[in-house]
Symmetry: C2
Subunit: 247 residues, 2 copies
């Protein structure tokens, strides 16, 4: 199985870099605060970051007290930036698809992954590998695109009213799992849809206990300054889970 490496595509990479440089975006407002709120105390901890991209999170883990951080990413272009902008004696970056982490000869206290799993076809295999790499009572926290987003297969995503305002999310094929082709800067970005119950069941069957689930939503306060996020009340963009390996 060839893993998708859309992040080394130049058009995609430039588009992605631009969106991440903009400090007011859905990641910064919703996904990152939720992800970090789920992390345990990182003081003295060994952390694995799956799909670390530019390494911003790896650097923050060190700032939060982690003594060892391994960031892996399928994109060597991303890791070049990570090494240039977010290097630290406590951080190593490694270029590999996360499907290959079972080959790592190291154990961790915490595994984190931010918005990468929806690109992974073999979710169960990766979850199993994470379980093996974690010590007893290890914590695994991840975010991914919300299933309302990944299930989208074709046609318009929204039904709008006469004024152009988004009225309904056009939801279809939620129950049909597997590959979807999305357009995000470039065509043919492959995303893998899984239902809530598949995600939860895969984690539990592997041996993880579910500690927390978050679907970040805008507060009324935030909507006053950022009314453009009103649509999240119809469709959360992100799903986050915190799980724990049994002792």
């Amino acid at each position: 199985m060839a893993q998708q490496n859309i992040f080394d595509n130049e058009i995609f990479f430039d588009g992605y870099k631009k969106i991440r440089e903009n400090k007011v975006n859905a990641n910064n407002l919703f996904e990152i605060p939720a992800l970090f709120s789920m992390l345990p105390d990182l003081e003295g901890k060994r952390v694995l970051d799956l799909g670390c991209g530019f390494g911003e999170h790896c650097k923050m883990f060190v700032d939060l007290g982690a003594t060892r951080v391994l960031g892996i990413d399928i994109s060597s272009k991303m890791l070049e930036i990570a090494k240039a902008e977010n290097s630290d004696a406590k951080i190593s970056y490694m270029n590999m698809p996360m499907e290959d982490i079972r080959h790592l000869n190291e154990s961790f206290d915490v595994v984190v992954s931010s918005l990468a799993f929806h690109y992974v076809e073999d979710f169960a295999g990766v979850v199993k590998a994470i379980y093996s790499l974690l010590d007893a009572n290890g914590i695994f926290v991840f975010s991914q695109e919300h299933p309302f987003v990944t299930c989208h297969s074709s046609g318009d995503r929204w039904t709008r009213d006469e004024s152009g305002k988004k009225k309904y999310l056009n939801l279809s094929n939620y129950g049909i799992e597997g590959e979807r082709e999305a357009t995000w800067f470039v065509d043919n970005v492959k995303v893998y849809h899984r239902t809530f119950s598949n995600i939860i069941s895969t984690l539990i069957e592997t041996g993880f206990s579910i500690e927390q689930m978050i679907e970040p939503l805008p507060t009324e306060e935030l909507l006053e300054t950022h009314p453009e996020y009103q649509d999240l009340l119809h469709k959360p963009d992100f799903l986050l889970l915190k799980t724990k390996k049994g002792s």
Copy 2:
């Protein structure tokens, strides 16, 4: 707070009775098999059934070995039928809203509820009461209307193509929790919408561990004989959870 007792409304009652008498319906094909697949071995167990309705499940719990079954329901009309058609020396029926179970002076090994929680406003309160009534390692299994169903607030539920075929579920206000008015045989049936993460968080924060989640979907085999359930691939009707009280 006055609990809704739509089941004692005569038009509703007759409509509901008719649908449950028809042996080929979504409950029999999807919800009941999933619910029973989640039950632990009931041999020698004390079972509480919340929203027991006509008592069919109570009778089945006895057939599966339960030595004590308490069925409670807000509708005295439903319980009249339960007592006439599904009575047993091991079963008691009690007319009370499930919001009042904290007053029960009895403990249980298993609490089951089939398609009743979406009528309950104070989910957290009921879950807390269930936790108190269960012995250590007790199991709590329930089904409810799927969040894609409960979130519906107004307008058409589906967008159809030219031939009238259902194309999209019109999903809106998923992130806005609380009361919805539905029409089911009669107008103004009150349903309470909660997000996946609210349901999961409430259970975990109360002290339950999540053991299993099911969103029942039709198999290809079933669709050959019952093509009318194709729409469930867009929108599962039910959400089921199995949880366990910590020891």
